[in-house]
């Protein structure tokens, strides 16, 4: 890393709680990410991982707690505002613009940096045309990073599954984020694709100096790529720290494998009632 570390963390979530009626989908969630950090978020299904994403990106307004992006409080802001502050995401179930081409998908993400207004668009002014060229060039750059330039004119819905996932990442990158949130980016991929994706994620982090938050189920993917792990279960953070330590944490084992496993292997959970 060259130069001094930035003063404010890219993401600072403090005691974030998301409550639906009586159900606390996320409780007292704390997370701090500096630029360049790669953190994995794991936990059984329904643990609240996507809820955490949604709270960070503005889909849900936190019931309690605070989310700060690059030092600024973003509670209650709309997702597009938080995106413009520097948070981009992909979705658990792919949400591409299906009837648009791959290039157009990425160009939409380049939209909010543009300068020319509606009138310039109608008149096709020179500044508008320059803007469009700039957007197209930028979008193609991101397609290239994800190895999708040859698909630029293909409709998103016609792309093979793995390429759709990569396109979603390209699109998120094109928004120029400081924090990239990937929601199960390797879902549905085979082993070799997953390895390639891991390397790609690391490369993206290095090339773009991003903070990356990854939700993943596949242990090998997330262990291999994360510097730190956060484990959620029923909305509560049950463990966090280095991957090796987390992997051996009895509470994490219990959450994934159940207490029968613990008993069988005679692992004691500190503070638990037996």
């Amino acid at each position: 890393m060259t130069g001094p570390a930035p003063s404010a963390p890219v993401l600072e979530a403090s005691k974030v709680t998301v409550q639906f009626g009586g159900l606390k989908a996320l409780a007292d969630f704390d997370l701090r990410l500096q630029a360049g950090e790669l953190v994995g978020m794991i936990g059984p299904n329904g643990a609240g991982k996507t809820t955490a994403f949604n709270a960070i990106t503005g889909v849900y307004a936190p019931t309690a707690g605070e989310v700060r992006v690059a030092g600024e409080r973003v509670n209650g802001q709309r997702p597009f505002q938080i995106c413009q502050r520097g948070v981009a995401r992909t979705f658990q179930n792919i949400r591409l613009f299906r009837e648009l081409s791959a290039l157009d998908n990425v160009r939409v993400a380049c939209h909010h940096g543009h300068a020319a207004g509606f009138l310039a668009a109608f008149l096709r002014s020179a500044s508008f045309l320059a803007d469009e060229a700039r957007i197209t060039q930028r979008a193609e750059g991101f397609l290239e990073v994800m190895g999708l330039v040859h698909r630029r004119n293909e409709l998103a819905r016609n792309l093979p599954y793995g390429e759709q996932r990569r396109l979603e990442i390209a699109r998120a990158l094109a928004t120029g984020p400081k924090l990239l949130c990937l929601d199960e980016p390797a879902a549905g991929m085979n082993a070799s694709e997953k390895v390639a994706l891991m390397e790609l994620i690391r490369k993206i982090r290095d090339d773009f100096r991003l903070a990356i938050l990854v939700i993943e189920h596949d242990m090998r993917v997330v262990m291999g790529v994360s510097e730190r792990l956060v484990v959620l279960d029923h909305g509560v953070t049950i463990a966090s720290g280095l991957p090796d330590a987390v992997r051996r944490d009895p509470r994490v084992i219990e959450a994934y494998l159940g207490d029968a496993y613990l008993a069988e292997h005679q692992i004691a959970v500190p503070g638990a009632v037996s």
Partner: protein, 311 residues
């Protein structure tokens, strides 16, 4: 003061009519998540069915007959139920898995088809028995003579009383069906999650068809009650009541059966009081104003629940 109570009577009267029609909207929306634009026109068909049946069996003010009235009611209800099921089968079922916009456009198409189909020049029959009836208003023979009572300055007619009693009776009947019968439970299950309901062994197609039948039959009842006191019927008569009943359903919370009843009464009373005390020319616009207000302030309606979309 008497004016207040007069408006109360009229408001309740028209409110129960809206409620009966609104029930059809809300039940269909509950199971299909579709606004059946054609529902108001099924109401219109109910009125015309009643007219044709009354003329066929010789029911009118001069020759009242309780049995014949019941026969006309049952006949019109059966005809409308059949029409409702037919529309569902031909126009909506094929689109069940398409985007909702497609079904919505189709519903609008069916609505206009009924409205303007009924205005075409007659193909068969003559006079009051001609079909299609054409655009000029037709005469609906009232099943019994009008009798008005003066209660401390407030005019209450036998139509008002009968209309209220019949409407409430049917609403109670519907409550029983929805909450105390197997069919009603199946209907509610389908409205929660039709896929899972199907997996649990419910014949979703039959339930939906039955829902349409039920809603259409209620619309027929509403039409007959209205036509009895306002005997001029025409092919476009379902338009405004249909839209207003839809507003009532939304106000009460679309998908909620008690909501439709409450919404209907609320709208009927609101309309009466605003038109009575304030601006009567804008009577028709009141429903829309109420709708827009409700959708902006409390989109789920009075008794509805908000649904969160999982991202």
């Amino acid at each position: 003061m008497t004016e207040f109570f007069q408006h109360l009577v009229s408001g309740l009267s028209v409110g129960t009519i809206y409620a009966l029609i609104a029930l059809g909207y809300t039940m269909v929306y509950g199971v299909l998540k579709l606004i059946n634009f054609a529902h108001g026109d099924i109401y219109m068909v109910g009125a015309f069915s009643g007219m044709y049946l009354s003329n066929a069996i010789g029911l009118s003010e001069e020759h009242p007959s309780f049995l014949k009235t019941v026969a006309v009611f049952v006949g019109a209800m059966v005809l409308c139920a059949g029409l409702g099921m037919l529309i569902e089968r031909l126009a909506y079922r094929p689109l069940r898995h398409r985007p909702r916009l497609t079904a919505l456009i189709t519903a609008i198409g069916v609505s206009f088809l009924l409205e303007y189909g009924f205005q075409l020049p007659p193909l068969i029959g003559t006079g009051n028995a001609r079909f299609p009836p054409g655009p000029t208003p037709a005469f609906f023979p009232p099943p019994f003579k009008y009798v008005g009572w003066d209660l401390a300055g407030v005019t209450v007619s036998n139509y008002d009383v009968i209309s209220l009693l019949v409407a409430f009776g049917f609403m109670l009947g519907l409550q029983w069906v929805v909450y105390r019968t197997k069919f009603g439970t199946a209907m509610r299950a389908v409205s929660f999650d039709s896929q899972v309901a199907g997996l649990m062994g419910i014949n979703v197609n039959r339930v939906i068809a039955g829902t349409f039948a039920l809603g259409s039959a209620l619309a027929a009842v509403a039409a007959l009650l209205i036509a009895s006191s306002r005997p001029s019927i025409n092919p476009l008569m379902g338009l405004m009541p249909g839209i207003k009943a839809f507003v009532a359903a939304v106000v009460g919370g679309i998908g909620s059966v008690p909501g439709a009843m409450v919404g209907g009464l609320v709208l009927g009373l609101a309309e009466e009081y605003v038109a009575g005390y304030a601006v009567s020319e804008y009577r028709d616009a009141i429903a829309f104003a109420v709708l827009i207000l409700v959708l902006l302030v409390r989109p789920a309606g009075l008794l509805g629940k908000t649904r969160m979309e999982k991202v």
